[in-house]
Subunit: 337 residues, 2 copies
């Protein structure tokens, strides 16, 4: 009886409905010219047969995939999740789907991922950061689709970008710290060289400190990214041991800053009275923990939204070059003077 039958195709619907396959195809496109009754009959027949539209075939024939490929360092990070959310919302208007991959903060893995994603023939590709392996960069350059680098302001962009200078953002925070009177300032971040955004922030810290004529030896390397709460706590423990007279600490993200805060709480070190603390990224936790954390809002969601807008414009030929600079915002809260 109930044999394994092949799934129905448009041809099957055409046979049942007494129209040509082409008409069935038209019935599934919202904008196409087709009489209301015909469409209705076709959609009904499709429902009855349990038909499922085959995007693969459609994509091959029309040479459009409705995919936008996206690489992020980690799926488990609220900043990148927000960016993907904003992007997704912006693309929903055109019914485009995101093909997401994560690199685990590894440029080799990014290269592998880019290659794999490009095989799916996306209409655009969005990458996080402006640094890539030579081959990864070449793959992007040759991709014949819009390439958008995000969360960075690349020295030499491959195509387009939507981002900001991580170094400049931290520089601004150091300037603020100095303005309100802090001098012995430390930086907690990942080991140099892997998380490029983290490294850029560290560079910004170093540059600004030097510009102010301040010491730059209070650097705690908390290991390979992702630098999260635990690493922040451990780094703070080292900092309090090695440089007990530190007045203020800038952490590579709110997550590590919160970890650092908990270490202070366990030791009875008062924030900001004994030591000031700041993060980066305006994560939810920074706005709610006690004390709330001074941070930099990098506008994660806006980065995604603007990226999505840009992609739609590029695909429609409305625009042809997008260098969108996002303005991060310093948010002074309870954890600093």
């Amino acid at each position: 009886m109930s044999q394994i039958r092949k799934p129905p195709t448009m041809a099957d619907i055409a046979r049942v409905t007494g129209v040509s396959p082409m008409t069935v195809s038209r019935a599934f496109k919202t904008d196409s010219l087709i009489s209301a009754e015909t469409r209705q009959a076709i959609l009904q027949a499709a429902e009855d047969l349990g038909y499922v539209f085959d995007s693969t075939a459609s994509n091959l024939r029309s040479q459009r995939s409705d995919f936008v490929a996206v690489t992020i360092p980690s799926i488990n990070n609220a900043n990148f999740a927000d960016t993907v959310g904003g992007l997704s919302d912006a693309l929903a208007a055109r019914n485009m789907q995101i093909l997401l991959g994560y690199t685990n903060y590894d440029m080799q893995e990014e290269e592998r991922l880019i290659e794999q994603l490009l095989r799916r023939k996306p209409e655009a590709i969005v990458v996080t950061g402006g640094k890539h392996t030579p081959r990864g960069r070449k793959l992007l350059e040759n991709a014949r689709i819009p390439v958008i680098e995000t969360w960075d302001k690349p020295a030499s962009p491959i195509g387009h970008y939507v981002g900001f200078s991580n170094a400049d953002a931290v520089r601004g925070m150091v300037d603020h710290f100095v303005r309100v009177g802090y001098r012995r300032i430390a930086f907690i971040g990942g080991d140099a060289g892997r998380d490029t955004r983290g490294s850029d922030r560290r560079m910004g810290f170093l540059g600004a400190m030097k510009a102010h004529g301040l010491e730059t030896d209070r650097l705690i390397a908390a290991g390979p990214p992702p630098i999260s709460m635990r690493e922040g706590a451990n780094a703070m423990a080292r900092l309090l041991t090695e440089f007990p007279d530190t007045e203020a600490v800038i952490c590579v993200s709110d997550l590590s800053a919160f970890g650092a805060l908990t270490e202070c709480q366990r030791r009875g070190v008062a924030v900001p009275h004994d030591i000031a603390l700041a993060g980066f990224g305006d994560y939810e936790i920074g706005g709610i923990c006690v004390p709330t954390l001074t941070t930099i809002d990098a506008k994660a969601r806006e980065i995604g939204r603007r990226t999505g807008q840009l992609i739609l414009e590029l695909l429609e030929g409305v625009s042809d070059a997008g260098h969108v600079t996002i303005q991060p915002e310093l948010m002074v809260r309870e954890s600093t003077r």
Copy 2:
């Protein structure tokens, strides 16, 4: 000069290399019979021409997509991110790619998403939770591919599942609370009916309280999901006003529990001395905040890993039914007696 040229295909490589397209195709498959020199020459030519393999065409012809479709409520949630991470790792062995969509805790949106994902012809589909719209359920039943429900133990599974009873898990926590002496216990969760896992946890709370002959009126509905830190804090404020003599609070997740904790800190209410606090999900924050949070580890990553294993077994025909029950683990920490 440099005209817009069509991207090279296997036929182009075949022409350049002097072999048939079929041989080129073989060169890209690791297991196929082909001489080492021929393959070498072909891969070299491909590199020179900037060839990119076309998965779309491959998928159509071979009727295999190497996609696994996944729906999660929110991309910005560490528990689901961990599950996707575990799944992704398990599938990496077979080079399968995850096609991810998020439902925003909305079953209507889930239905829309399922339909869209199925059009891409995934080899399996993983959904979060065991409750769906009637049409969503029907789509899954007719999908002719393995369907795996996760993060739940469905009353009537569509196909397979990897999960646990959210109600039972919370029941166990209530039992523990009663055992150590708490009686006036409250529950902070989302509005009933939207986040099904949250509702199940609430049901578990109510059932266990009744079983112990305790009052069940200390229920704070914190709004529609996602219930995060801010909602937890607001709910705690209401709870402390409406039921100031509450001895212990169970929150629908660690995030809301942490929010609740901050509200206590701002009011000078000592945890666990004045009130005990527990969460759900073993998020990173619960293990590091002060005090650390009693919680239930739902083994998010293991859910993903086991799901991935199951999918591979099902696709290889090794297994034909998977009802995998995950055992959540109560973790008693500083926030409770």
